[in-house]
Every structure is written in C-alpha cells, then in structure tokens.
Point group: C2
Chain length 226, copies 2
C-alpha cells in the first residue's frame, strides 16, 4: 500500500502538496498490531500520534474495578492520540487494536515542525479537535441526563446515516460486539440486551445475524430525545 495515497485521503492533509506529503510520510513509520494487542497504555509518555491505515483501534479507560469504558473507536483514515501529544505528559487512556491493524506513527517533533510551516494545517487541526470536544460534551450530556434507552436510540439514529437500505429497513452493521457497544454507551451487556429486546418488542428494530435493522427511525428519534 502506498502511504502517501492514504495520507492524502485524510481531511487534515488533503490540501498539502505532494512534496509536503512526502515530508510527513518520511517523518513517521508504519507499525503493525495484531488483534487484541495494546498500542499504548494509560500513563505511558505521550510522544507521538497515530494514523489508522487499516483496521480499528479502541480507546478506553479502566475503572478501579477493572471495568472499562470505551471512549472512541477509530477506523481507517482517522488520526488519534494527537491531543495527548499536544497536552504533553502521558496518554490518558488505553489503545488496543480491535482487529489486525496497520498504523502510521509520528514522533511529536515532526508534527510540530509541520504546523510551524503550515498554519492552515493548525487551523484544520483546531477544528478537528473542536469537533471532538463537541462530541465529548454531547456524550457528557447523554450520560448525565438520559437513560440507557435514549442513549441507545441516539446511537442508532447517529449511525443511521452510514446504514444500508434494504427492503426491511435501514440495516446497521455494528462495528464492535455488544458488550463493547454497551461500554461505549456507558452501560453493561445485560442492560443493553434487555433494551434491544424491548425495542424489538415494540417493533422499532429487528436483529439479523450481527446487524440491526431499523424499522421505525422516527420513533427512535423521539426516544433519543426523551
């Protein structure tokens, strides 16, 4: 795979010249991770940022009792850990490969050098971080204000955009298993299972294999706002 082609795809770098892309590419290196292997751990010194070439990486925190909460799952084309890098100090969470993954890694100095030279890149990064801040604050709102059924409905509504239309309805493929989805929604597997069942009983969704079929998007939107 050509790394340059991949880098160009990501929004952050899309406006850079080939020469600049070369510079970025030569400033980092590709690293491979097997499914389940750890990219970095909480507390480790944050000396670089990552870009997902292939696969999926889960970012999570660990509670005192070992229970984990998934903050984010990054797929191909996304950058992560750059915030920790800028903040300095250590990574505030764990990163683990959900599948066999290829990541591109930059040391801190390279990215900083790049930003110095290209202020418009900085503005793009600021915007991208701002979006992430926004999604985090939405999540804080959800967790403190809403109950599980509303959060689940909200998740499905969010994902509806990337679903696939079938004759039965909108089909969503879950990017993770249900326990992990539960963790992402701030709950546990059992509760998620019950909530899904209740949605099924109400005729809002159906389950097919590993996919969820949305049958009544409007109603889900309502629930997500209660």
């Amino acid at each position: 795979m050509d790394i340059r082609e991949n880098l160009k795809k990501i929004d952050l770098f899309s406006q850079l010249s080939d020469l600049e892309i070369d510079e970025i590419a030569s400033g980092g290196k590709v690293k491979s991770y097997k499914k389940g292997s750890i990219v970095f751990t909480q507390g480790q010194e944050a000396i670089g940022a990552f870009f997902v070439l292939e696969g999926r990486v889960k970012i999570y925190k660990l509670g005192a009792d070992g229970k984990q909460h998934i903050l984010h799952i990054f797929g191909a084309g996304e950058i992560f850990a750059e915030a920790a890098m800028f903040a300095g100090g250590t990574y505030p969470a764990y990163a683990e490969a959900l599948q066999d993954s290829k990541l591109f890694y930059w040391a801190k100095a390279n990215l900083l050098y790049l930003i110095e030279k290209k202020p418009s890149l900085a503005i793009k990064m600021l915007a991208s971080q701002a979006m992430r801040l926004r999604s985090f604050s939405a999540k804080i709102e959800d967790l403190s204000l809403k109950e599980v059924s509303a959060r689940l409905a909200g998740y499905m509504v969010d994902q509806a955009g990337s679903g696939r239309k079938t004759d039965k309805g909108l089909e969503l493929k879950l990017p993770m298993n249900k326990s992990q989805l539960a963790s992402y929604l701030g709950t546990i597997g059992e509760t998620l299972s019950r909530t899904l069942t209740s949605f099924k009983n109400k005729g809002l969704i159906d389950e097919d294999n590993n996919s969820i079929v949305i049958k009544n998007l409007e109603k889900l939107k309502e629930i997500s706002q209660s």
Copy 2:
C-alpha cells in the same frame, strides 16, 4: 482596566509582543453582562470567542426536561467558546454570567488571522484544547464508572490544591452554590446534600458557613477511586 495587561496574563498570549497584543485588543471589544444574563444560547451561530476579564461564566446544556448540566465554569483569565468557533456551525451549549461580568469578544476572522501569522500560538491553542479534551474524557469516565460519592470526593481532591490551610484542615470555598455543584457533578441538589452529610458523619469533612473543611484528604482520595 487596561485590556492589554489582561490579555498578556493569559497563557495563550503571554509570548506575544506588545504590538501583537495591540492587534488582538483592537480586533475585539469589551462587553458587560449582568448576573444571570445570557452570553449565548445553544444553537446560536458561533461567530466568535470570549475572554473573561472579570466575573464568572457558566457553560451548560439543557436536557429535554429542562434539567441543566454544567459543563464548565470559566473565571477571569480564561478563554471560552473558541472551540465552537473553530468547529463552525452553532454553539453547542448555553453560556450565562454567574456574576456581573466583563468579557472580551473576538470575531472569528481576527483570531484566524492571528493564528496564520503566529503558528506558535496555534500550537498553544492546540495544547489548551487537548487539555480540555482530557478533562472531558475524565468526566465521561467519572459519570459512567463512578457513583456520586466518588465524584464528589474526586472534586474535593481536585480542588484541594487551591484550598486554604487552617488549624481545622484544608478549607475549600465553593465557586458556586450547591445546586450548581450538583449539576456539575452530574447529580441533583438533594443527592449532593445527602452525600455531604454522610461525609460529615464519617468525619471526613466539616462545613463552615459556605466553605468545606477537609479533615481527611487521604480517605477522600480512596473514595474518589472506588
């Protein structure tokens, strides 16, 4: 009050020359807000950022039932809403003056112009946003993993640094009333009151007037991590 002096104090701008400070100062204007008045509302177009000259501003979201969750409280010397500005679109939350306040307001174009000219400023802003991201993700962790007593204990441990030593223990002055603290901690007044009482009964803290006296910081640290 001299605005330039105030701007220089804030970390983001500390390394700029007087001339540059002048440029920033002339690109915005001072606005005054009475206690309880709204600085901006959720959904309003985000066309600028604010800097707190005097007073305190509360950032909060409103749930469907009108319940509010306080995301942040900004005091003198802090910048806010710049993330919304960069993300574009609308403000994702409400801002309200907790006291009579003086804010300095910049239109978007001015800040962007400044960043173009001064990449090191961009890096500082990236770092500052990264810190905020970190505190948000810590909050998400708290909300989904911990119970109220742990969150309250954690809050007091966090604030312990800015407390005042007395013969009784560390004295914390609350920057808001208890209902608002409850909202900040993702709970409600009644529950906060009960939790405080239980801490008092256990001899961990005392209440004096409008202040909390920490008598057993170690134990609080323990509780905050359960």
